[in-house]
Symmetry: C2
Subunit: 450 residues, 2 copies
């Protein structure tokens, strides 16, 4: 289902000199993401495809592409590596797929801060940044393939958020430059709080072409698996580790049985029936960390020194939404939820949910900082039956006071943000007056057309 009302050969012609892909199989492949994690999104998005893929390698080319799209009133869908899970970059009305994975330049890199192009892969950047002792503050579990631009446009936090909070928190993005979709496209720079106008907007508010991002000291991260006899002890261990100001950590992920059984590559370290924690902690903090493990009667079943952990598969690839990936690779009937529990060191609501749903909603916690407090987010693995039941589960969570960032919708407002900031809508009017950017994703904009 692409956009056949447009003259794609004329568009392609206007872009001569810039790499384009027209082969339908390839275009289809580059029109998709990991929305199939959601059985609700699957039927809605499965036949969506773009008309043309364009792969620019400079801002000048991007300005040209923007101009051509505006001229032809062609939808434009920006993508990085397409590792999103909510159909963020699925073209709903066909259009030009702007693949930014060739925009991989590091403009500058200094202690604490960097300026990069959007298409650089997160892991590739870290490899260079670590040479001067720095790394990203937070990364998703798709770290190896995801791009920084895609992460900003479609993600919210990840490995590292247990220390630094989320991308939306002040200080975690310093500046963004976007190319507008005006009649005469131009570059607009957003700094400070103005970044909100573009962050986590699925590429609806300008094409991000440059990012100034703060960095974190690249500590030697040891990787550890700890198993526990019962889930709530594991959860409370996670909370305590998050709260331990003297222990430097990057990842605190907690899994209820049977989720560990889905981690087939870690089978030797996860005895049947166990509940476990997957942890990244600074190597120089291992000794006091082990005291905390002892306090919670945890058992270490896997421990890799930082040097060793850089080889082979990192534990981070079993956490955040890679947990869902591993679960689905065993049973495609599994899907997931995204929940933020209220700050409560006793984890009362969490415990209630754990018992209430049993194995229908398997607990997977990712601890992160929310406004200065360690809070459990959950990416529960859900045994899917019907959409109605899924809605019921979501409603039960919301009724009890848990916040749900629904991953079973491609509408911006129905996911995490709930409402578009009026500033964002105003900014869209400015930078995308014809509504060409990823059309159909921002309800507030669509409503203007009625």
């Amino acid at each position: 289902m692409n956009n056949q009302s447009l003259d794609w050969s004329a568009i392609a012609q206007a872009l001569v000199g810039i790499e384009t892909i027209t082969d339908p199989t390839q275009v289809a492949k580059l029109s998709t993401d990991y929305y199939h994690f959601s059985p609700v999104l699957q039927p809605l998005l499965k036949d969506k495809t773009g008309d043309l893929v364009v792969r620019p390698s400079s801002i000048a080319e991007i300005l040209k592409i923007a101009q051509v799209c505006v001229q032809h009133k062609a939808p434009l869908i920006v993508r990085g590596s397409g590792t999103g899970n909510y159909g963020q970059c699925i073209p709903l009305q066909g259009g030009l797929i702007l693949d930014l994975t060739k925009m991989t330049k590091i403009n500058w890199l200094k202690p604490g801060l960097t300026s990069v192009e959007p298409g650089i892969k997160l892991a590739a950047f870290d490899k260079q940044a670590r040479e001067i002792g720095w790394e990203w503050r937070m990364v998703p579990s798709t770290y190896r393939t995801a791009t920084i631009g895609g992460f900003i446009a479609g993600g919210s936090g990840g490995i590292g958020s247990v220390t630094y909070g989320q991308l939306r928190d002040r200080g975690n993005i310093h500046a963004l430059k976007v190319v507008t979709m005006e009649d005469a496209p131009r570059i607009v720079e957003l700094r400070g709080d103005a970044i909100k106008k573009v962050n986590h907007n699925y590429g609806t508010n300008g094409i991000i072409v440059e990012l100034e991002m703060p960095l974190a000291p690249a500590h030697p991260w040891a990787e550890v698996i700890v198993t526990f006899g019962d889930f709530m002890t594991a959860a409370k261990f996670g909370q305590a580790l998050g709260d331990a100001d003297g222990l430097i950590k990057k990842l605190v992920s907690i899994f209820a049985d049977p989720i560990p059984s889905y981690f087939t590559a870690l089978r030797n370290h996860l005895p049947p029936g166990c509940h476990c924690a997957l942890v990244m902690v600074a190597e120089f903090c291992l000794e006091p960390f082990l005291e905390l493990v002892k306090q919670f009667d945890g058992e270490i079943t896997y421990q890799k020194a930082a040097q060793e952990a850089t080889k082979g598969t990192s534990l981070l690839e079993f956490t955040w939404n890679h947990t869902t990936l591993h679960a689905r690779s065993v049973d495609t009937n599994l899907t997931y939820l995204q929940t933020l529990f209220p700050a409560d060191k006793n984890l009362t609501l969490l415990e209630h949910m754990f018992h209430h749903f049993g194995e229908e909603v398997m607990m997977h916690l990712e601890f992160l900082q929310v406004q200065g407090q360690t809070v459990p987010a959950a990416l529960q693995v859900v045994r899917y039956s019907t959409e109605a039941r899924l809605k019921e589960i979501i409603k039960y969570h919301e009724d009890q006071g848990a916040f749900i960032a629904n991953p079973h919708t491609y509408i911006l407002e129905d996911g995490g943000s709930k409402a578009i900031d009026p500033l964002q809508l105003e900014f869209k009017k400015l930078v995308d007056p014809y509504g060409l950017m990823n059309p159909g994703k921002m309800r507030a904009w669509e409503a203007l057309k009625v």
Copy 2:
């Protein structure tokens, strides 16, 4: 009032080869600390002095000194630079003053961790550690002169605690070696949670001779003064900065008028009647930090880049208990309190106290991490009238739910700790069976003698 029942010439004779000081003026000077901040402690401690100062330069010498003290049943009082404020190292019954300021060796230093001797000055260590990119996690305002051993034995936290919590928190001290006061003195190593047996014990539980301490990345710290029109806005700015996970900081100190007027060296940056924040923030975070300042209608009156801030007087020398020092240099009738307010982002109890006492108890906040939450500690500057009134003020705070670490007592239990951990008492029985170490400071021990 020294200890004349002992044969001090025989003791001195037994220590030949180790540097000793017998000149009474010098001994008196090396028997004191900054207890005079407290008008309650002043009359109690003003005539206390030791009999002999000994300045060893090796652990072998310390073992020898311990043995001689045990043999003669001579009290032994360990000291660093004597920058404490509660008479921690004032000899109550005379005795041998063990001055460890010649024990300044860095045994080893590697990323994240170091092993040092107790007498190294905090600033001197940092100078060396920063060459490899690291520094202490937290330091007191007596940073330039205080020793690490004295800080562990008599301090609790300081500049850096807004990120790392306090010394007592797991992970902030890795290991301690102490020399015992047994008949045959020996070295005992404490690691992990066992450190509690010695931490913050005023040198009553063994002579600390080696410390393994975790470090923090040495960021380039910019120093900033922000002024505010009203105190509660300044206080809430402090809370918000503490809670801002994306802003890397080392110091968040808030002062109510008229405290800023006591900072005479900063007069040009502190307009009369202002309330202010003294802040150290990573230079690469300055831009988003300034957005926070804007949000709270703060005005920047002083800003030094990190490079520049290393020259001249650092703002840290106006914070923590140096605030009291500056206040008392203007008016010796001023003293102070030490308060920990409960975690509450609205600062309700704090606001109540601010209004309730007015200028009798002037607000000075130091934000720090307590079990994963940013909490205001207060070192209020108090206009002293009588001891009875001081007790009334303390009682009022305690009755309303604020925790007071009373600085107007030299008894361990009556200050911050409230009760000696039974483990500490057991450890004292083991390492100081004759009760020679800093006698009179630990009530639980004195009670055993009855």
